[in-house]
Structure formats: structure tokens, C-alpha cells
Symmetry: C2
Subunit: 191 residues, 2 copies
DNA sequence: TTATTTCTGAAACGTTTGTTTTAAAAAAGC
DNA sequence: GCTTTTTTAAAACAAACGTTTCAGAAATAA
């Protein structure tokens, strides 16, 4: 009957996500966003909705990518402990590269003011928790990890620990610091 | 010669700080701020300066309060380990009370975009680091802490760890989780 | 081709933003 | 009490904000 949407929605969301990621929700203007997305604001409002709706979609997109990353790791034939250590090292690399984690940033900037965003971030956190928990438990059963601590606790502990590494890197830009803390965390697990 | 300033500047800064703390830098409007400070914007611009300047003063004020808190703790006659454990428990209480830490929030929202703020937050982080480092070192010398880890590493580690507890509480509102992680951290130190 | 529908681009919308101006009120020194 | 200086309150400021309107272009189906 009529014309169909011209722009690629997923690509546009990806671009908007990058803007929000860098600037945060409040200081990313609609001009910043539509410029990056290369669409007119009328197209945005016709298809996706307003700024809040766009933001929710971006946060969802970000956590979808994280979920895919975890699912890929789960397909690996490496031992649970190896998968865990790789995951930690990759988390360190993300921090040191300077992008940091969008989910962490938004948890502090907007989660308290937007329930939908909080729910998405909570689900993301729960998913990462489950991933870590299962890995730690399996590694214990195989004897790769010697600690007698609850896997529940250890999973929570790492899930929150690396947020602090991110803050440390923002303030001090000291990659060595982050690497040493990661190394210490792994050592605590092993013994 | 002439009239003197009518409002109490420190009280006004305190009020502005509370607004920034709750809303963040970008979503706190000048109306929000001057309403809380109970002054007219012309008075603000005549004495303190623009929004950025006010914000810097608020962040500085916040870190001054933290410094005073640490100095009070240092005057205690308790053992280093006791001071350390009390500090950790109080950090947990701050998180659970729901205010969280303004320094952490602002590190994620504005530190990358404002060098002056970043410098203040870095100095604050360095001060807390030194406090923790000295306590840990003294506790080791007295045999209150058994671990052989570097006090430098442990101080960094805690300084960043509790940031993650804060994020965890934002997303999950689970006080038990935070208490267990703190308990685990203390146990790791002790043995 | 024509009719119909929907998308697009540019402009305009009313608000809200941070900031400045203006005129009057208030304090201090002579 | 008068003069001088500075603070104050209220209003006004331009710029930027998120959002909507509107006319025309584009695509589909008949």
C-alpha cells in the first residue's frame, strides 16, 4: 500500500547507543542522536518513539550484546575455570581500552529515576550472575577451584567487584592497578 | 562601605550538594538549585559563579566531609584492624541507607568530561587509599591481619570493591547481599 | 497511471535551560 | 542623614531542548 521505512533500525539503535554510552542520557541531545543515527527526528518519532523510548531500546540492545557474548563463551570446550579467567581478563581489557561498561554508567546515572531501565539492568546483572555462579560451581566440582566459599557469594562478589575497577580506571588511568586486582581476585578463587 | 552578603555560603553549598547528589549534574537545573539554596540566581552568580563552579564547590565540599570523617577515625584509640572493620561496616550502612556515595556517582557521570572534578575525586580516592593502606600495614605489623598480600594492593582493592556494592544495591536493593560481601572481604583480610 | 498511504526533511513549536540585566533595597563610612 | 557601594529580587535574555507539524517525495497496490 505505501512506503516502508528507509533506514536500518538496528544500525540506528547501535549508533544512538554509542552516543548515550559516551555522553550519558541527560547530556546526549536529540540533535546528537539523530546526527549519529543519520535520520530526521520525525522519522525517529514515527518509528521508535521519544528520547526515553530510544534510550530504553539502546540499553536493551547493549544488554542483548552482553548476553550473546556470554552465550558464545558457554559454547567453548575449555574448562569452567579457564572460561572464568578469560572472562575476567576480557573484562579488564574492556576497562583498559577506555570504553568501560555502559550498564554500569547508566546504573549510576539513571537507574534510580527510570524503573524500566533499572529492570533491564537488573536482568542483565542476574544473567551475568548465573553465568558466573555456574562456572564457579562447575569449577569447584572439578577441583579447579579450591576455596570452600559459596558459589553464590563469589558470583555476586565478582559481579560487583569489576564495577569498582572501572571507577578506578576513570580516576587513575592506571592499567597496572586493574591487572593486579584481577590477578588477586583470581588467586583468591584458586586457593 | 557597603552591604555584605546575606546568605550563609556554606549552608547554601550544602543544600546545592544535596540536589546534585540526588539528581546528578545534568538533570539538576539552576531552578532546582537556587530553590534549595533559597537564594536568587543573581546572588549565586555574584558570589559563587556559574553552574559548573557551583558544582565543583559542591564536590569539593563533599570530599572535605569525607576527609574529616577519616581524620576523626584516625584519632580513635582502637586497634587498626578495628578501625578498618568499623570503616567497612559504616560504608555498608551508607549504601544500605540508600544515599550511596556522591563521589562514585559523579565519577561515572562527569569525571570524563570535567578535569577539575576528576582531579578532586582523584585526590579523594588517594586520601582514602592512604588511610586504608596505613591501617592495613599497621594491622599486619601488629599481627591482626594474617594475609601476606601487599597493603598497597589490598588498599586499592577495597577502595574499588565497595563501589560495586553500591551498584549492586541500586539494582537489587538487597542489603543481605552487601553485608555478606563485606563479611567475605573482612574474612579474606583476616586469614 | 492513478489512488492511497506512509515516510522524510525542514521548519516551527512551546518550554526549559543557564545566564544577565535592571532597578530598588540595604548596609557601611563619612 | 547623605553618599557610596553592593546585594537582592524579579524580569528578561538568547540559546538549546524535546517534540510536532506540514508539505512534498516515495513507494505500494489496484
Amino acid at each position: 500500500m505505501a512506503r516502508s521505512v528507509e533506514f536500518n533500525e538496528e544500525q540506528a539503535i547501535q549508533k544512538a547507543m554509542e552516543v548515550f554510552w559516551e555522553k550519558g542520557y541527560n547530556s546526549a541531545s536529540l540533535r546528537d542522536l539523530t546526527d549519529a543515527m543519520k535520520i530526521n527526528s520525525s522519522s525517529l518519532y514515527n518509528t521508535i518513539g521519544d528520547k526515553q523510548e530510544l534510550f530504553v531500546r539502546c540499553v536493551q540492545h547493549y544488554t542483548d550484546l552482553r548476553k550473546q557474548d556470554i552465550q558464545k563463551r558457554l559454547k567453548s570446550s575449555d574448562s569452567p575455570f579457564t572460561i572464568l579467567v578469560d572472562y575476567i581478563h576480557d573484562a579488564v581489557d574492556v576497562i583498559i581500552k577506555g570504553n568501560g561498561c555502559m550498564a554500569v554508567k547508566m546504573a549510576f546515572e539513571v537507574a534510580n529515576a527510570d524503573q524500566r531501565v533499572k529492570d533491564i539492568l537488573k536482568a542483565d546483572s542476574d544473567y551475568a550472575y548465573q553465568f558466573l555462579h555456574d562456572l564457579i560451581k562447575n569449577a569447584m566440582d572439578r577441583g579447579e577451584i579450591a576455596t570452600k566459599e559459596d558459589p553464590e557469594l563469589l558470583a555476586d562478589y565478582f559481579n560487583s567487584t569489576w564495577t569498582g575497577w572501572y571507577e578506578s580506571y576513570i580516576l587513575h588511568h592506571d592499567a597496572g592497578k586493574i591487572r593486579k586486582m584481577a590477578q588477586y581476585f583470581i588467586k583468591q578463587l584458586s586457593k
